[in-house]
């Protein structure tokens, strides 16, 4: 054995801490006794119950048809589109946290990225349900894909934004899932090696794909992971931009606005960070992860919420300004109708939730108060849902022809499906927390290794190599 290095003393702390990180994160999965008991079961049970509501709403929908929803003429796009946009938006924070912060080498990303990525995937799953069901015949949904020759001798209409959406959302889901999975492979290997029972050992052994932490593997892995992050960033922008184009390329006042792509993206990030915080604030407490998801993370997320929220508010202001600047009669009518028409309550509640409430985040004290922050996040989630409600409903319900004006309200099945997807999401999130490492173990360790400082060990051979390098 090599002579004991005097510098090793410092690493004993480190060694213990690599292991303690493993214990803190990895063993939550392996040792079910470490699960927080009722605090896990109660939200899980709520999620599971609401999931049954979703299943019921979907079953009735498939057997009866979209007539059970509140959609009508002129409001043909109701809850289905509102909820679709809402869920897709929520997913975006996950990708942004992972990808952009990795590119900008922000170390605070490490402890929340996995969690946020999981959120992305589950949110996109919830989102996908709505347009799929809104087609009316979801069993032939594969017609949306370009597999024409074998089915209809027809092709999707590539000049339609709805087809762009199919490509955008399916690409987004696939790439997010790949990114998530790739990020977990080394952690699966850790769990495989730490597992004592046969089942987790075999299961994690399979999904870890035989990862052995070889330096050449890490070399390629880091290249692939970084570029994947680089690809995901414009992908996020493109997905919500394309969602916004569903509205913006049309002629409907209130929909046809060039600000829509960046404004939708900002709104998505805003809502997404609110959702990350909604889950992170209680979970870090229940799972005793306060030293990994620190107040610094919470505060940063609050700051990003404030910044994106301000851009969203700017979007509302430009809509108002240009409605009046444009001089176009229909634009002005639409804006007046939003503010003073039958749905005035939705518009002003939205301004209150999205525009005014987040302004308290300017205060550092409030950014560090998790209870208030949690409430602000609730407001933002509601506000962002109302934003889509206002965009979809108030733009359609009084269109160019006053004789066809009408009102729109969701039915019990609309609400059931919406709440049901919230249950579906909660259900999946809590399953994830129980059975997968919710924090990226290897990145936290890497961060830790840099924190404990880099002091080169020295031995005769090393000294020789260094001399050789200098020659």
């Amino acid at each position: 054995m090599a002579p004991k290095n005097p510098l090793e003393e410092t690493f004993i702390e480190g060694e213990q801490s690599y292991a303690s990180l493993d214990r803190a994160i990895g063993d939550i999965v392996l040792d079910q006794k470490r699960q927080p008991g009722l605090k896990w079961w109660v939200p899980f049970a709520i999620g599971f119950t609401l999931l049954q509501v979703m299943m019921l709403a979907l079953t009735v929908l498939v057997f009866t048809g979209t007539g059970i929803w509140g959609i009508n003429n002129p409001v043909g796009w109701g809850f289905a589109i509102i909820n679709f946009v809402w869920w897709i938006g929520i997913g975006h924070a996950g990708t942004l946290i992972s990808a952009i912060l990795l590119l900008f080498r922000q170390q605070w990303r490490n402890s929340i990225n996995r969690f946020a990525e999981a959120m992305t995937i589950f949110a996109v799953m919830c989102a996908g349900i709505f347009p799929l069901m809104h087609t009316g015949r979801p069993w032939v949904a594969y017609w949306l894909m370009p597999i024409g020759p074998d089915t209809l001798r027809m092709w999707p209409q590539f000049r339609s934004p709805l087809v762009w959406d199919v490509f955008a959302v399916s690409t987004y889901f696939t790439v997010s899932a790949l990114f998530w999975f790739i990020g977990m492979i080394p952690d699966f290997a850790t769990l495989r090696d730490r597992a004592t029972k046969v089942f987790p050992k075999v299961a994690f052994g399979i999904v870890s794909m035989g990862w052995r932490g070889a330096s050449r593997h890490w070399h390629r892995y880091e290249q692939a992971y970084l570029i994947l992050a680089g690809l995901s960033t414009p992908l996020v922008l493109s997905v919500h931009s394309i969602v916004s184009l569903d509205f913006a390329v049309s002629l409907i006042p209130g929909w046809h606005a060039t600000i829509f792509p960046p404004y939708f993206v900002a709104g998505a990030v805003y809502a997404g960070f609110a959702m990350v915080l909604t889950f992170a604030i209680p979970v870090r407490k229940w799972y005793a992860l306060e030293h990994v998801i620190t107040m610094k993370h919470i505060e940063w997320m609050a700051k990003i919420m404030l910044a994106t929220g301000l851009f969203v508010f700017y979007g509302y202001l430009t809509e108002v300004f240009f409605a009046f600047y444009s001089g176009v009669e229909w634009e002005r009518f639409m804006m007046m109708n939003r503010m003073t028409g039958p749905y005035w309550w939705a518009y002003w509640t939205l301004i209150f939730c999205n525009g005014l409430v987040p302004q308290i985040l300017w205060s550092k004290k409030i950014r560090q108060n998790t209870a208030i922050l949690f409430v602000v996040c609730m407001f933002v989630s509601i506000g962002m849902w109302l934003e889509r409600f206002v965009i979809v409903v108030t733009s359609l319900h009084r269109d160019f022809l006053p004789s066809s004006w009408g009102m729109y309200f969701g039915t019990v099945w609309d609400w059931g499906l919406y709440l049901g997807t919230i249950g579906f999401f909660t259900f999946l999130m809590f399953l994830f927390m129980r059975f997968l490492p919710m924090i990226n173990i290897f990145e936290v360790k890497e961060l830790f290794s840099r924190m404990i400082g880099a002091k080169p060990a020295s031995s005769p051979a090393v000294a020789k190599a260094e001399v050789g390098a200098h020659e």
Binding site: F158, T171, V175, L228, L231, F442, S459
Partner: protein, 188 residues
């Protein structure tokens, strides 16, 4: 510790040195490379900056693979939209041209990203030879710690410079926590 075989044993995969820190591994990797060993691999629970380069590994195939996949995706995307809309089934929609290139940008972009992402993931796995659930290195002593809190360096027996006693002695000069033999067949 002292069961080292003095003769060259074809069942020996290599010698494995265990380190307690990332820096110990990095220094050892540099020293091993400087000593002239070529078939060397380092193992760590997280990517240690500079180790693969210290072992003389500078490959950049993955980025190029991703770039090529992305270009292929872009071609596939634009090709699909051009062929279906302009050749196979041209249709007048709102008087727009059959090849309405501005409206083909979104799908082309998505196809680019999709193909590039698959290029990244499948390319990385294929170049790494994964999935491969079994590998001789897993027979190494305490190697299960390579994914937890220990760092390993293995000089493989296929290395032209490999010589059991000398290699082992060399590894012991590197401040390793322990040095052990890795065999192709698991004897535990």
């Amino acid at each position: 510790m002292s069961e080292a075989t003095m003769t060259h044993d074809s069942k020996v995969y290599g010698y494995l040195a265990e380190f307690e820190s990332a820096d110990g591994l990095l220094a050892a990797a540099k020293a091993t490379h400087a000593e002239g060993y070529a078939k060397v691999e380092a193992y760590s629970p997280f990517p240690v900056h500079g180790v693969s380069e210290a072992l003389g590994f500078h490959e950049a195939k993955v980025p190029w693979l991703i770039f090529v996949s992305g270009v292929a995706g872009a071609m596939a995307g634009i090709g699909l939209q051009w062929w279906t809309g302009s050749v196979d089934y041209p249709m007048n929609v709102g008087g727009r041209p059959n090849f309405a290139w501005p409206q083909f940008i979104p799908v082309t972009f998505e196809c680019t990203v999709l193909f590039a992402a698959f290029g990244a993931v499948l390319g990385m796995l294929a170049l790494n030879g994964l999935p491969r659930p079994n590998h001789p290195i897993f027979n190494g002593k305490r190697f299960e710690l390579a994914s937890q809190d220990r760092f390993f360096l293995c000089i493989e027996s296929e290395d032209p410079k490999f010589e059991p006693t000398a290699t082992r002695r060399f590894l012991e000069t590197l401040n390793a926590h322990a040095v052990s033999e890795v065999r192709h067949d698991d004897e535990d």
